[in-house]
Amino acid sequence: MRRSALALLVAFVLAGTTAALSAAAPAPRFSLPGIPNPGVNMRAPEIGKYGGTYIISQISDPRTFNPIVVQDTASGAVTGAFADGLVEQNYITGEIEPSLAESWSVSPDGRTWTFTLREGIVWSDGQPLTTADVEFTAKAIFTPGVDNSFRNLLTFRGEPVRWRVLDRRRIQFMTPRNQPPVGLFLRFIGFPIVPKHKLEAALNAGGQQFTQSWGINANPRDIVGSGPFILQSYTPGQRVILLRNPRFWKVDRQGQRLPYLTRYVILVVPNTEAARLKFLARETDAYGARPREFAELKALERQHNFTIYDGPETFTREFLVFNQNPNAPISKTKVAWFSDVRFRRALAHAIDQQTIINQVYAGRATPPTSDVSVGNTLYYNRNLRPYPYDLNRAQQLLAEAGYRKGPDGVLRDSQGNVVEFTIVTNAGNQDREAIGNIVRQDFVKLGIRATFTTEAFPSLVSKLTGTYNWEAIIIGFTGGIEPCTARNLWLSSGDLHMWNPNQKQPATAWEAEVDRLFEQCGTEVDQNKRKAILARFQEVVYENLPMLYFPYVKTQPALRNTIGNVKLGLQGVTGELETRYFKGAYRP
């Protein structure tokens, strides 16, 4: 069983990532009291020392401690520390690795997955963690009224995944006929497991009850977990304190039980300015700096005993999208411009990405190509080249499409209509506001009468997804590692297919192709073929530009020099909580 799991893992590992290979290499065998086969963390570069309080800060309060209903990152930071799933994602490579399940196998038809839990693992209150808990969690996910984002992922073409408990350690998941891809299924099955003995009463009382259980008003003693830390206290508006879980099921490369830290504290601060001051004053140990702060903080490294790292790009994409919806309550002439790919390509050439990179991100960004960020090393298509900033090329493309710039310097279309439109973004986002101003000026250089305004976020979203009364919008999406989970955005029938949503039939050939590619991506098992499918997807988007992308923004994590096991991973993550440790003296 274990051997087959390793074989599977090796199959996922992509060539060239040595870290992933070492993770798949046979790990040394250790045991913990009662746990004959604990997880071994092979990713951490150093063997740590015990003790210390690791303090970070975040801008928002957690909204819930219920790992199933979490939708926001602030809550995720807390639940992620105490709730583990069957499998986990390697933070460096993005690959899926064993977690609570020590191994798994898949039937030859690819539809039945059997997971085997580690023997002897327990919840932080000492109760055994068994397949009954896994089954309970799956049941909760599919209970009406339990607001969660896992149900969506575990439903394949309208059919929910089914499951069957074989014994205390083995559980089977069965997917519907049109089986999802191996890699994707494992990603979806990594939902956090919650304890049946603590939450069963709430679920029996109904989905709403379950959604409200383990809320921020819960008694921390009722919240038990399987992760490296357990919740000790929450003070609204101030902090969350987590304590080392002495029953955690992982060891380091020398067989010592993890985690090393005694306490993990998340301070709630009102804004990034306060987060920065607290970091510099050594009240916290880590700070996710903004691009503009990189140079400034670099100069302060020695004085304040920290290091700021040149991190990779995030998965977030910021973009400008034009309304091509024939049913939108805006002028048909404008829809006609926006629907013309030559018009969009011309505008892509007119955007001065380097100025955006320099002025908005102080150089800490990379020119964009398509819908997958260069930070997503698993799927980014390296063959695409960013649209160069070239006003002559832009003018040439516009001329080919029948646009003429008059002696008054104003651009008109072939019918003589003045080309004018309004770009909107959400108020309060400084980066987007700065980008909007730069882009507006760029378009004005072409003779376009572009205006730029801001609007409250909820109002912007209601236009984008409800009334469709908009011309051009600057907004951004955070992305997961798997681009083809964004079905609602890319399928032509999608509700969030912003430029022309809810199409009965794909309006264009390229949208039909994207539909096909997403269908293939959803059923393709072979990882290399999936890479090829997604590379083609990026190419189609690059050529047809339903959205004009803005630079991929880099991360610049700053960390106190006393912190050990620092190794940058995807999206600038600096390491794992379970192997964090203090090299020298530490706070008690």
């Binding site: 303090i55 009224g145 008003n217 804004n271 109002s459 209601s462 236009k463 997804t465 989970t485 079905r487």
Partner: protein
């Protein structure tokens, strides 16, 4: 007097009804709802968003939503927060005392400083100390709290004497009671100073102007003419008459006890209502906004009532019956 108070309290009912109804309608008139953020998640299916909307009761007509809310409020059930999945009463309650503590502290501090200084300035009009104090007062009135808050935070950072924002330190729970008091006091220095500075400046100017006015009155001249010493003239006669308008201000300040520090709280990270309410308004977390509005309206109305009662107590000429 009691009849008057009862009548005023009765007036609250239609007033609060009107306030909540108008607020409810205005919130619904502005486009977008709480689910805006999740609608923009490309992974989430629209059917899921629809289900959430139903679960939150947002699919029903506005008047039904309002009546349901009103009915629940009459039973002291203020609804659930969409974002936090906890009762609104708990959410507001978890922050209420913090805001109250900060504002009361600042209020006491401001009055303790402003009244004596105001008297001092009025009795020594146009002296160098009066001029200097006036300068400081103008500075206090014209500096927005977020700015002075940031300034003091930076000072705390540079000197390392005071914590940078927040209300308690990490070790708070393990401290003995006097340690807890000291810990909170240390954290309160910056925000309470900022609030008190702004409030004291206005109060002091008010006190000075009132007292100057009273000191010019005939009965003060009479008192002086019959040979009364300057101290009793000022403190026994003039100050008592000059303080009436300040009592009205005091009433307003009671009304603002829960809202006066909203902006500052967001700057210095004081875990009060301000942060919570601002966030809920931006997110359109409907019942939190409504709960906060109700709370704010009630305190404002009660503050005014208290001011009127205090006025009657302080001035025998004022009677309501």
């Amino acid at each position: 007097m009691l009849r008057y108070i009862a009548r005023r309290l009765l007036h609250m009912v239609p007033l609060l009804f009107g306030v909540t109804l108008i607020s409810f309608i205005v919130i619904h008139l502005s486009p977008g709802d709480f689910l805006a953020e999740i609608r923009l998640n490309p992974v989430v299916d629209p059917a899921v968003v629809e289900e959430m909307r139903r679960n939150l009761g947002l699919d029903q007509p506005v008047y039904i939503q309002y009546l349901k809310w009103l009915w629940a409020v009459l039973h002291f059930d203020f609804g659930y927060s969409f974002a936090y999945h906890v009762p609104v009463a708990w959410l507001l309650g978890s922050r209420l005392l913090n805001t109250l503590l900060l504002n009361l502290g600042a209020l006491v501090l401001a009055w303790l400083i402003a009244i004596p200084i105001g008297i001092h300035a009025a009795t020594r009009q146009y002296s160098w100390s009066d001029n200097a104090l006036s300068m400081v007062a103008y500075l206090g009135i014209s500096t927005p709290t977020f700015f002075s808050g940031l300034l003091l935070l930076y000072l705390a950072f540079v000197t390392g004497w005071l914590p940078i924002g927040g209300m308690t330190s990490i070790e708070y729970d393990t401290l003995p009671w006097y340690g807890k008091v000291l810990d909170v006091a240390r954290h309160m220095v910056v925000p309470a100073t900022v609030l008190a500075f702004g409030a004291a400046a206005g109060l002091m100017r008010q006190m000075r102007a009132n007292l100057l006015e009273v000191l010019r009155q005939d009965y003060v001249r009479t008192a002086r003419a019959k040979g009364l010493a300057e101290r009793p003239v000022t403190y026994k006669h003039a100050v008592r008459n000059a303080i009436n308008p300040l009592i009205t201000i005091f009433g307003f300040e009671i009304g603002a006890l829960l809202s006066g520090s909203a902006i500052l709280e967001n700057v210095v990270g004081w875990p009060g209502l301000g942060q919570l309410i601002l966030e809920s308004v931006v997110r359109k977390d409907l019942y939190v906004v409504m709960g906060a509005l109700l709370l704010g309206s009630v305190t404002l109305i009660l503050g005014n009532l208290i001011a009127d009662i205090l006025l009657a107590v302080a001035d025998p000429r004022i009677r309501y019956d």
